[in-house]
């Protein structure tokens, strides 16, 4: 690993990459933007912006319906985007890729449709202590509706799942395991393959929240053998408002439609409706066409750089920042898992994250502060919130140096 780390910063043409992202050259409060809020959303390369621009200038028509040239061409482009995503995820079939509004929508879809068919009173659903609210609330609500029980895998002090406890929670009443691939707060990369294997040994399906994982790592559906995988385009350098639900064909066929309406049907009469085959069964209404096309452009862009290179480079940034941060007096990093993505959450003794974030913003440095939509996790650590810096492959060590200087300044001002 150390070899690849050394190579990473040398082979990634960072300045060229940075030039691909127009927003990185803009000023904030008179300073050049340093964008360390990639965990919330990523910036967009010119190719993605161009794809959306071209769509509206030259390609706009509704898909799947028209016989006219524009409609046929854009239908092809949209379905090609689906295939690009299928190949990227190494899913077996393109119709296992469902376009949604985002990760939250994808999880809600599964909780609702899977829940209708397979969850009843007394059943158990397993999540973990480090889940985002979006992977808690849909299941919590389902449990309330059906009289099912939510079980939570605890974490250790480092912010890693306690796998022994997970194994104990799996039982004959468990109907679903819904777990995050990478924690948005702790950066922990969870052993999803092992989690899936253990669940499958008891015939329990697994949903993986991949929102934080897809910008940093290859998610290989057939290798992981997961049943559902969810992510948002906007965290993967693509547009907002569009996301993906991967579902195994057998599950997507087994569960009922989520939302119904135009596009989801074969035939409709007032007595009965016959629903369309996958994937259209789950895609009611006119979709976010340019979003799907923009996501495919983002995936092609990322693959040109290579996710392995990206992961190695980001690991280098993470190590560099971590080493410097732990030297700051009174600073504590929340989440010190051995296997970690480029996300650092921290608190500074006696200071409120909101104050630190406000001062950093004045210096043109964008970080996230607060509970990061993980209030139960904050309760585990008995804190109100953290400051979170999350890096993408367009960030640099020079930016980290500026961030450290800014942080020292903020601490001095606030103490």
């Amino acid at each position: 690993m150390s070899d690849s780390k050394i190579i990473a910063s040398e082979i990634l043409p960072i300045q060229k990459i940075r030039a691909d992202f127009p927003i990185l050259s803009r000023k904030i409060n008179g300073k050049t933007l340093i964008y360390f809020d990639n965990g919330a959303t990523s910036q967009k390369p010119q190719v993605v912006i161009d794809a959306i621009d071209t769509y509206y200038k030259n390609q706009n028509a509704n898909i799947h319906r028209g016989v006219h040239t524009l409609s046929q061409k854009i239908t092809m482009a949209y379905e090609n985007a689906r295939t690009t995503i299928q190949k990227h995820l190494n899913a077996e079939h393109a119709h296992e890729i469902i376009f949604t509004k985002g990760t939250t929508d994808s999880i809600n879809l599964v909780a609702s449709s899977f829940g209708k068919k397979f969850i009843s009173s007394g059943d158990e659903i397993i999540i973990s202590a480090m889940e985002h609210h979006s992977n808690i609330l849909p299941w919590q609500q389902l449990c309330e509706e059906k009289g099912a029980i939510l079980k939570v895998v605890p974490i250790n002090d480092e912010g890693e799942l306690v796998m022994e406890e997970y194994k104990k929670l799996l039982n004959e009443k468990t109907r679903m395991v819904a777990i995050t691939h990478i924690s948005n707060v702790l950066g922990t990369i969870n052993p999803v393959k092992e989690i899936i294997e253990l669940a499958h040994a008891k015939n329990i399906p697994v949903l993986v929240d991949g929102a934080q994982a897809v910008p940093h790592t290859l998610a290989n559906m057939q290798e992981l053998d997961c049943d559902f995988y969810c992510f948002s385009a906007h965290k993967l350098f693509g547009p907002t408002g569009v996301g993906i639900l991967y579902g195994k064909e057998k599950w997507l066929n087994a569960i009922p439609p989520y939302q119904v309406g135009g596009g989801t049907i074969k035939t409709v009469s007032f007595d009965k409706t016959e629903y369309a085959d996958l994937p259209l069964k789950f895609e009611a209404g006119t979709p976010h066409i340019e979003g799907g096309i923009g996501l495919a452009a983002a995936i092609n862009y990322v693959n040109e750089i290579g996710l392995d290179n990206i992961a190695a480079y980001e690991h280098e940034l993470l190590a560099y920042a971590t080493e410097a941060l732990i030297k700051i007096e009174g600073l504590k990093i929340i989440g010190t898992a051995k296997n970690k993505a480029s996300v650092i959450s921290f608190i500074v003794e006696g200071l409120h994250p909101f104050d630190i974030g406000t001062i950093l913003d004045q210096l043109g440095i964008a970080v996230r502060t607060g509970h990061h939509c993980t209030q139960p996790l904050m309760q585990c650590y008995n804190i109100q919130g953290t400051v979170r810096a999350s890096f993408a492959f367009y960030n640099t060590k020079a930016e980290i140096d500026e961030f450290l200087k800014g942080l020292e300044r903020a601490i001095k001002m606030l103490k």
Binding site: N29, L351, H352, P353, F354, D355, T358, I359, Q362, T369, G370, H371, Q384, G385, M413, L414
Partner: protein, 139 residues
């Protein structure tokens, strides 16, 4: 001093600083010097929830005027809270209800009043005015 006069006074104070750092340092100092709310009022029903920083606020009726005390767990929010109390406290309900609070824009701290979820300040001003309205109806 009228509400407008206090607003003018604060505006002039902040004009002394030509950079953001000075302004924020001044704000932080004001936060630090804010008279604490009585601990017995720092209860959940006195809390004004923002997404990030929390504000506790208490109002009292004294000789036809309203006295506010408050606290926040974030020092910059506390500084903004201190400004609001300096402007609105010890005035009649009508004066408080009609206050336009334009000084925030003049001193260049409008981002703290943007309708984001990040702090409880907008909700706090609303609560201050609601309290004033309640006292007005009672009196």
């Amino acid at each position: 001093m009228t509400i407008e006069e206090t607003e003018q006074e604060i505006t002039e104070e902040f004009e002394l600083f030509d950079d953001w750092m000075g302004k924020y340092e001044h704000l932080i100092d004001m936060g630090k010097s804010l008279a604490m709310i009585d601990e017995k009022y720092k209860t959940d029903d006195k809390i004004i929830k923002g997404c990030q920083s929390r504000v506790w606020m208490h109002s009292e009726w004294k000789d036809g005027k309203i006295i506010y005390t408050a606290d926040s767990d974030a020092i910059i929010t506390k500084g903004m809270v201190a400004l609001m109390i300096r402007v609105l406290s010890n005035h009649t309900p009508d004066e408080i209800i009609n206050a336009k609070l334009e000084f925030v824009e003049k001193i260049g701290l409008t981002q703290h009043l943007s309708p984001t979820r990040s702090n409880g300040l907008v909700s706090m001003i609303k609560q201050m005015k609601l309290d004033a309205l309640a006292y007005k109806v009672q009196s």
